[in-house]
Amino acid sequence: MDDNVENYINFLSDDCLICIFNKLESESDRNAFGLTCKNWFKVRNIARKSIIFHCSFNPKVYKEHANCLSKLLARSPYLNLVSLAGLTELPDAALNQLRISGASLQSLSFYCCSGITDDGLEVVSIGCPNLVSLELYRCFNITDHGLENLCKGCHALKSLNLGYCVAISDQGIAAIFRNCPNISTIIIAYCRGLSGVGFRGCPGTLSHLEAESCMLSPDGLLDVVSGGGLEYLNLYNLKSPTGLDGLDRVGYARSLRFLNVRMCRYLTDDSVTAIASGCPLIEEWSLAVCHGVRLPGWSAIGLLCNKLRILHVNRCRNICDQGLQALGDGCVCLQVLHIHGCGKITNNGLASFSIARPNVKQRADEVMCIGPSIEDLFRLQ
């Protein structure tokens, strides 16, 4: 072999090697690059931008992930994204190594890492000041105290996933808005301890809120929409301990475009009218399994929702042919209607609707999530 060729490669500087490395796209190529020699191994570690451990249902895989995590973190000082899924026994101590990447870390995901507690969040708040997106889905041990510390350290937070963090209350939520002026996406699904009053004074930057299966009170709902910037709201299966309907408060969210009130059993016609008149920009609305909506409600939607493109009325017990006709007579922008299982709608009614609105696509599938994919908001661009 030619001696000169060997020397040539050794003269390439590190930033040349990094350039070359960044052009490699497949994981196996990148790993092979790193295993060539010590120098190239160092380059591979410097150029590593993300660590992603996907969810697996095999406990052995989780053990492997947990074991090699600390080594990977120690070697890679310029990480942007660390995503750990399913490491339920990961202790807070493992997060100390996030300080190594510290200022470059922008996105962290502790999906189902239920071993993380407030102490771990404190480490994150001190070590990762430039954090933009954080997922704490099913981290049951997180409390208001930890959340407050986190927000005080990470002012740049835009997206926060607190799904199933049952120990959190309105105080913790209020702390987010005091400290993070850019916050735009919050997920509080299944957080039973929240009534919504913590959202009082929330900034107009808050545009996406997922509050599936929450127990927001009527006053809390008023505070949730008080920011004025909310575009996407998911209140699927909103629980109401008193049986009262507080959803008319949603009518104060002037910028609302996507609303999911699927399975809100207590939703009344008055609230539907309030929402239809208060939210003129609404594009997609799911009222599936909302048995409390009757002809006055459907008429209001037909009359007032002039930008509505997609409507879901699957399995509503109280929509009849007249209601369907009212929707067809109005809703000038309607493109898709999800309808099936509505006991009071006859074939005649559907046929009349098809004749009156031939351009509206009728679909029988029932969709749980509407609008933009919220997961995308937690991925780095």
């Binding site: 299966n237 049986g243 399975m263 059993r265 399994v289």
Partner: protein, 106 residues
């Protein structure tokens, strides 16, 4: 909804869909999969799963699981056939597990 003086209704624990009436209770002394269960003569707003033969504490029965029609939560089962004479009285009746139903405002 206004206060109604009427039949005492049980609802699905997940979505508060009305599923059965207190007046239809035949017996409170049954065992479900995870605890107490009641035997009802009627059920409403439920959908049924496929029939299957199951060995229960009282013998072999043909049962079909019942689901809340709105949220599809499994609430219990319906006895389709009983193979022993002493168990025939259960045929056509519904078992709702106590943990899966809640009293609706009473």
């Amino acid at each position: 909804m206004a206060e109604l003086v009427g039949p005492r209704v049980y609802s699905c624990c997940h979505c508060r869909n009305h599923v059965c009436l207190h007046d239809d209770i035949i017996s409170k002394a049954f065992q479900g999969r995870n605890g107490h269960a009641f035997l009802f003569s009627h059920a409403m707003n439920i959908s049924m799963g496929p029939k299957e033969d199951r060995q229960l504490m009282t013998g072999l029965h043909t049962v079909a699981d019942i689901y809340c029609r709105d949220c599809r939560e499994v609430l219990g089962w319906k006895y389709e056939r009983a193979f022993e004479e002493s168990q025939k009285y259960k045929e056509g009746k519904f078992i709702f597990e106590k943990a899966k139903i809640v009293k609706e405002n009473w």
